[in-house]
């Protein structure tokens, strides 16, 4: 197998995908509802891709995405409202704040090797703690929505009157995060995390500091979620403690799992398929049968868990391989041996 042509072909596919994604607003730009939808898809794609680092690679079932997202949103929003600091800077500060929170949470949890159900519960509790905290904390939060000021220029305060700019910002973040996770996946950290997800003791005797590796993973994930939170606040135009949403955190984890744990593009793929599908169902079933879309969503989850526990990304890979072999047969009259491993 020629690795170089394979990578270059893969890059070509990626470039095609990016171009396609970049063209979407041209087709939908006028339709506000459709633009919110595709922006939301990208938002979930970023969160799920970042979740993959801690959840898919390190195998820590994290349910705290919205804790970091919310903290990033509140940091960005508060900086803008109080001191008129641009969200471009605010979202970076938000990311750093979220990573700081991740350090405080992760240091003891990973030190005591909290895993699986217990880690899931602890991280889920974090979201609720943050929500209540910001509900009570009148100086920055409180129970009423705080609307972000429009400011002098739309670009400075990141407040646009249509969704197209947000879409592009999110697309750029998604591409950056995909590149970052791919880098991590094929680095010392990535291999260590993948192995840690399988057997912690066995990895430690190979010289890997499990606490440090997981802490790094959690902080990177929290940073990305915090940055996304900054954009999220501007996109919705207000701050509210409901940003610390347990169901959103859950959905991010679900997308990561359905997409394929540890496969870098899997969660983004799952976000594109599942979130679009969810919104489609909500729009079409919403009228008479409120909430029915959740039932359909749940059924899909169960089917994936039963028949495709490694996620939908391997399914896609197998499909592509099948098509390749099929066309290979047409061209050469026999299956391409080089592709089989």
């Amino acid at each position: 197998m020629n690795a170089k042509t394979l990578t270059s072909r893969r890059n070509l596919f990626l470039l095609g995908g990016v171009l396609l994604a970049a063209l979407i607003p041209l087709a939908l730009g006028k339709n506000q509802y459709a633009m919110v939808l595709v922006t939301t898809v990208l938002l979930y794609a970023v969160l799920a891709t970042a979740w993959n680092i801690i959840g898919g690679m390190a195998g820590q079932l994290d349910l705290a995405a919205a804790a970091y997202l919310g903290l990033g949103a509140f940091t960005t929003g508060t900086l803008l409202m109080r001191w008129n600091i641009t969200p471009w800077l605010g979202m970076i500060v938000g990311g750093i704040t979220a990573a700081g929170l991740a350090f405080l949470i992760g240091f003891p949890l990973f030190g005591f090797k909290i895993k699986e159900l217990w880690y899931a519960l602890s991280s889920s509790a974090l979201v609720e703690v943050m929500r209540v905290l910001f509900l009570m904390w009148d100086q920055v939060g409180g129970p009423t929505e705080q609307y972000l000021p429009a400011g002098l220029s739309a670009w400075y305060s990141l407040r646009f009157n249509n969704y197209v700019p947000y879409y592009y910002i999110m697309l750029v973040i998604l591409i950056a995060v995909l590149i970052l996770t791919t880098r991590i996946r094929y680095s010392k950290l990535g291999y260590s995390l993948l192995a840690l997800g399988e057997d912690e003791d066995a990895v430690e005797v190979l010289g890997v500091n499990s606490q440090a590796a997981k802490l790094k993973a959690l902080m990177i994930y929290a940073f990305i979620s915090g940055v996304v939170g900054g954009v999220y606040a501007c996109l919705y135009g207000y701050l509210h403690p409901s940003f610390f949403s347990t169901s959103m955190s859950m959905e991010v984890a679900i997308l990561g799992i359905v997409g394929g744990m540890g496969i870098t593009y899997g969660p983004a793929l799952a976000a594109i398929v599942m979130v679009s599908f969810r919104e489609f169902l909500r729009a079409n079933l919403g009228g008479g049968m409120e909430g029915l879309y959740l039932v359909v969503y749940a059924v899909i989850l169960i089917v994936v868990a039963l028949y495709q526990p490694r996620g939908i990304a391997p399914l896609l890979e197998r499909g592509i391989k099948y098509i390749k072999t099929y066309f290979g047969e047409l061209r050469h009259g026999r299956p391409a041996d080089a592709e089989s491993r």
Binding site: S187, Y191, S192, L194, A195, E204, V205, L206, G207, S210
Partner: protein, 244 residues
Amino acid sequence: MDAQPMLKVDNLTKKFNDLVAVSDVTFEVRPGEIVGLIGPNGAGKTTLFNAITGLYKPEAGRVTYKGVNITGLLPHKICKLGMSRTFQVTRAFAHMTVEDTVRVGAYNRCGEKNVQAKVDQVLGLVEMEDIRGRVCSDLGLASLRKVELARALATEPDMLLLDEAGAGLNATELGAFMALIQKLNRDYHITFCVVEHVMQMVMGLCHRIVVLESGEVIATGTPNEISANQRVIEAYLGKRAVRC
């Protein structure tokens, strides 16, 4: 032989609540040696290994490796000092390929630039280049034991602790595995401490043997001395068997 032992265990004690799994164990491994650790089931061999490699914190005693006190040190720090191990029940990374598994160990001493060379070297050494792309869950027991050895080797240890590496292997596999350990010992100067039930392997491989029973050392000596030792025979077969 060097004056300083490679590994020195002094009066090591490990308890689980009231159960004393390892009691006041003292022994040493000199550089270049292959030392066997034998004893009946439940004698505390694996617990002793875990206490040496940092997976358990011992209640009392001292472990010294190359002159450094490593008692209670975290496993990854002990590995950095040059000691790694394998596990009794193979704990391969089920969803990872052989190559990636070895790579995890190789990062111990290598950066991104030379890690691939290290992986290739180790895979060549254990003759697993042909199955480097296979996922560990697809491998048989003999290959899994070799993967565990390979990933530990990739950390560039001076000393390896093998926990029942021969268990469950057939005669051919066992012979190949023993030859590999001898090669690593002779050509790469790796010191070994092996927990083993397979007597063929213990007798054929080890320079010295330490016998544990109920957490205590009951004998130390060369394979010939040990196989003639009354207490060892009693421990394994019971007193009556000796009298008959």
